[in-house]
């Protein structure tokens, strides 16, 4: 300590006491540097940081938008798909109903046709039968008279009685055969 004081005294220098010129130089240099940094450097960096932050935030926002859009499109597709499915189901149902209708119509028509054909056949049969019966009746009467003529010869004069006998016989025949024909 003593030594350093001696040295200081010798050189006229004390390191703890500031030199005015150094303070001034230091201050001026510092203020100059401060001015440069404040004026030219700091604003640029701050602008860059602000821009960078904005960019990142913008990017996030854009991504969110894209996601929302994708979600919306997906929902649209889903709705469309559901609609299409419903449509298809409806068409299928319609087709089935229509098919059933057609089948039942056709069946009704066929039944009608068959009934008609049956009825036609029956009437035809009826007429034919009546014709045949009438024919047979005439034939049978003639044959019976012929037969009786041959059997009895010329013995039967009473035409009136003869006619009544044949008619009665034929009526009896009719009665027995009619239920079978029905």
């Amino acid at each position: 300590m003593v030594n350093s004081l001696v040295v200081a005294a010798e050189g006229g220098q004390n390191p703890v006491l500031p030199h005015t010129s150094e303070i001034i130089i230091g201050l001026v240099a510092f203020l100059l540097l401060f001015f440069i940094i404040k004026k030219f450097v700091s604003p640029k960096f701050e602008a860059l940081y602000a821009e960078r932050a904005a960019k990142i935030e913008g990017g996030i926002e854009k991504a969110e938008q894209a996601q929302a859009q994708a979600q919306e499109t997906l929902e649209q597709y889903k709705a469309q798909l559901a609609e299409a499915r419903a449509e298809a189901a409806r068409i299928r149902d319609d087709a089935r109903i229509e098919g059933e209708q057609i089948i039942s119509e056709l069946r009704a028509k066929a039944q009608e046709e068959s009934a008609r054909i049956v009825a036609q056949g029956q009437t035809q049969l009826e007429t034919q039968r009546a014709q045949i019966v009438a024919e047979l009746r005439g034939e049978l009467g003639r044959l019976a008279i012929d037969l009786a003529d041959r059997v009895v010869g010329e013995s039967l004069e009473d035409e009136v009685r003869r006619k009544g006998t044949v008619d009665r016989f034929l009526a009896d025949l009719d009665d027995t055969s009619a239920p079978a024909a029905k």
Partner: protein, 259 residues
């Protein structure tokens, strides 16, 4: 004490205060003055080049410049002052940090080898003439003079008998000690560190040239000088960081709503 007679007979002169005051380069201009000016040229050039043509995605040099800027901006200004108020103080604190840092590092740069901050005038200029008025000014501007005085000297929540003791101490600290300790801290660290380096280097040189048999000790002295250079590098960065950090801390404390 300053002389040490060795076998060879030459006198060893230990480095002392006189080594911190080399003769002026010309007129009144001394080495530290030149270095102080040189430092702002370096820093100014670095930042002007680094901030030219800034891109969103930084290149290599821009990345380095941004990293340095971010030390001043984020880890010093924002940490100490708070995210709300720190922006206007970024240029000031960045300047403080870089100015002290580069002037400290001159101490281990070959051929320069002189820490400007070992002359107390320079740190005093920054702390007493810049930081001290700035933090009081922004404090008074924010709170008004009386409220600021109370805010700075009367810690909230302390009982009255403690305040009797505490208030004068706080006042003394806030208005006298803070700027002085800020300057003396870095000055003393740089002064002592430089002295230490000189002792080992000059002693090693002396032993090598005039040591006779003790010449074998010279490598040890040089090894120590090299090891101490690394230690000094750490201390220089640390002191610059502390200087800027405390400046930011004073500003933050002056602006803070509660104590």
């Amino acid at each position: 004490m300053t002389t040490l007679v060795l076998a060879a007979g030459d006198e060893f002169v230990a480095p002392g205060v006189k080594d911190f005051f080399p003769p002026p380069i010309f007129g009144e201009v001394t080495k530290p003055m030149v270095l102080a000016v040189f430092s702002i040229v370096i820093i100014g050039a670095f930042f002007l080049l680094g901030s030219r043509n800034l891109k969103l995605v930084p290149g290599k040099f821009q990345f380095v410049a941004e990293s340095v800027y971010d030390v001043g901006r984020n880890s010093i200004a924002r940490e100490q002052i708070g995210a709300k108020d720190f922006k206007p103080f970024v240029p000031l604190l960045l300047t403080v940090f870089m100015f002290v840092l580069v002037n400290n590092l001159f101490g281990i740069v070959p051929f320069i080898q002189f820490p400007t901050m070992s002359h107390i005038g320079f740190p005093l200029a920054v702390s007493v003439l810049v930081i001290y008025p700035v933090y009081h000014f922004v404090g008074i501007k924010r709170h008004g003079f009386l409220r600021y005085l109370k805010h700075q000297t009367v810690p909230a929540g302390a009982p009255w008998f403690v305040l009797i003791l505490l208030t004068p101490i706080e006042f003394f600290q806030k208005f006298f000690l803070n700027p002085l300790t800020l300057a003396i801290r870095v000055f003393a660290a740089m002064f002592a560190g430089h002295l230490l380096l000189m002792v080992f280097t000059i002693a090693g040189e002396f032993l090598l040239l005039n040591g006779g048999i003790t010449v074998v000790v010279a490598p040890v002295a040089f090894a120590f000088a090299i090891a101490l250079t690394f230690l000094e590098a750490l201390i220089m960065v640390l002191q610059a960081y502390i200087f800027a950090l405390l400046s930011a801390n004073y500003i933050g404390a002056a602006l803070a709503e509660d104590h």
